[in-house]
Subunit: 356 residues, 2 copies
């Protein structure tokens, strides 16, 4: 297997360095070969080449079956205009080029970490949901998009557009995922205001007929944003168009405490995928050796599962991670009384110890 | 003064009945005359006239200086298509007809009610923010909006459009509000993806020059959704375009516990305003005499403040409400150990007792 390794900025290189030995150990144990090819991305790539996503990096990705992504962005590039910042300038073209239409973000409140959650323990306990976000359509890419001068000032336009086929394919991802979980899909939309939401509802109802074992619910996005705080346990799979998924997956990510725990998978055709921690480049703690590598390591597990079909290797990594947590290892972001607070490397080593 | 009273559905009539005596008492005490004119709206209006917002109701509103609104919607009308449901079919035309471009939603976590919050007490304590939402533009009303057939299926379009002048006027409302508060405005946008957000940033930067005593910050909407859960105390005034404001104000409303406490004001030109509880029609508890009338009563206070300029009367109602809370009165939605749990009428009476 060939994997493109794009560590990026901030804590990206550290969490990536902590993850690769675990990936290699998984390959060794389960008897497959991994070709890990590193390439520049984000601010690091801007500094070296002037572009957040250089052509050589795209070439490496094209020759791979999956991309393991670190994080991009930081204060160094904040003076760039918003639309040129590394995060956007790296991620949007990657999604578009590789047709990564389904973004999966699993969010679980681990019992060991309830004290890190901003929610009361009785509300956070047992939360285990999956946001499935459409990633290549909607307001992000719809045309026309631009600003025109009028006699009264300026007029700016963005376009939210969806076609039936774009909705169908991501809906199937959500229903398939629900089958392997609690069998409950909630479509999040704004069907009382948006035409595109009416098309989502209609299309999802049709697709649901192929998944009679999965329950289907509908929720307006404003209500969903509220319910996520009041009672997040009610959800299993939340299916969202691109921008609603952007907002709700970040809201949901905040529910369980540290962002350092949350992986994401962005899937395209033929199992190609990009795997990226939800938490970002965390420039404030970069270079200190204290970043939580969990999200990157769990990304590696998702990569093995979705892009390589190595389910056993994925499960082995996840089990070692859970064992490390329950044995009391913690990075500083999730530190708590009586736990062993360790740095990035030691945390990853503890996982490796429990893996072999 | 003439006020249109639109009680609507569900708990609307009950909370309105509890509120009007307080409004009348305020008029009496502060020496002004109120003409309260009732009219049909929402499901009740659909049942009686076939329309959620009958022409007679619009006429009553046109002859008034403000609208005191109850709540609309309920299971009885849920079979209607999403775009015809009472909430949408009543509220969107009201906003449009009366040019209610600025929606204000103050959200405070009262110290007496921290146990009702889904957040840990140390996170909820001291939260006091105001969402200022643009209410007549963006994806709600932008053209083109519709669905077309293509050879591959259907294609649905919504349009997000803003003009400089629409942004300016609501920005001024936000800055003025911040002046009377903690002097900090955060613009919530998605400037790394949306053209319209770039126009918002540019326009707000220009308006900010008139308010050098107010600090200005920028936050992407996904990050704002996350920060609201992690650390809501960091915010003072959140300024949002229409749909972001819809989502974030509901998320913020969930932070402090009962929705029954939250009023909102939708302001247009020449002080005209519509005042509406944030919580909705709560059909599950309608008719039981247990609904929390606080939001409606606080709406009455906002109406006195913003539309009638009767600041003293507004403050008197708010003070009586706070005294009622600290004297331990609670409706069932905010019940807690050691407090006096009472129904809608008794709660309103307790406020009235503390008012006179
Ligand atoms: C950087 C930005 C364009 C991106 C998005 O909005 O999709 C990010 O917020 C994300 O969720 O991955
Ligand atoms: C009913 C609906 C159209 C409305 C909105 O989205 O504005 C409601 O959610 C609100 O926030 O008042």
């Amino acid at each position: 297997y060939r994997i493109a390794v794009l560590a990026g900025d901030g804590i990206g290189p550290e969490t990536m360095a902590a993850t690769l030995p675990i990936l290699r150990a998984a390959a060794h144990k389960f008897g497959f070969h991994l070709d890990l090819e590193e390439a520049l991305v984000g601010g690091a790539a801007i500094d070296a080449t002037g572009r957040a996503l250089p052509e050589e990096t795209l070439t490496v990705c094209r020759h791979s079956q999956a991309i393991l992504f670190g994080a991009v962005g930081g204060p160094r590039w904040e003076a760039l205009p918003p639309e040129k910042q590394p995060e956007r300038a790296a991620l949007l073209p990657l999604r578009r080029t590789f047709g990564l239409y389904a973004n999966l973000r699993p969010i679980s409140c681990y019992p060991e970490l309830l004290s890190s959650s901003p929610l009361k323990t009785e509300i956070a306990r047992g939360v285990d949901l999956l946001v499935v976000r459409e990633l290549t359509g909607g307001l992000y890419f719809g045309q026309p998009k631009g600003t025109v001068m009028t006699d009264r000032g300026e007029r700016a336009i963005d376009t939210l557009v969806y076609e039936t086929s774009e909705i169908e394919r991501v809906a199937r991802v959500a229903f398939e995922a629900a089958r392997a979980r609690k069998k409950f899909v909630t479509l999040v939309d704004k069907a009382n205001v948006l035409e595109s939401s009416l098309l989502w509802r209609k299309t999802i109802r049709r697709i649901a007929a192929d998944y009679t074992d999965v329950q289907l619910g509908f929720l307006y996005v404003d209500n969903a944003a509220m319910q996520l705080v009041r009672n997040p346990r009610q959800f299993d799979v939340l299916l969202c168009e691109n921008l609603f998924g952007d907002i709700l997956s970040d809201e949901a990510a905040a529910l369980c405490g540290s962002l350092g725990m949350l992986p994401s998978a962005s899937l395209g055709k033929a199992r190609f995928g990009l795997y990226e921690p939800a938490g970002g480049s965390a420039p404030d703690i970069a270079g200190k050796g204290i970043a939580n590598p969990s999200a990157e390591i769990l990304c590696a597990a998702l990569l093995l599962r979705y892009s390589l079909g190595e389910e056993k290797a994925a499960l082995a990594i996840e089990a070692a991670f859970r064992a490390t947590l329950s044995d009391g290892f913690r990075t500083p972001d999730i530190a708590s009384d009586g736990a062993k607070t360790v740095g990035t490397e030691a945390f990853a080593q503890a996982i490796l110890d429990r893996f072999e």
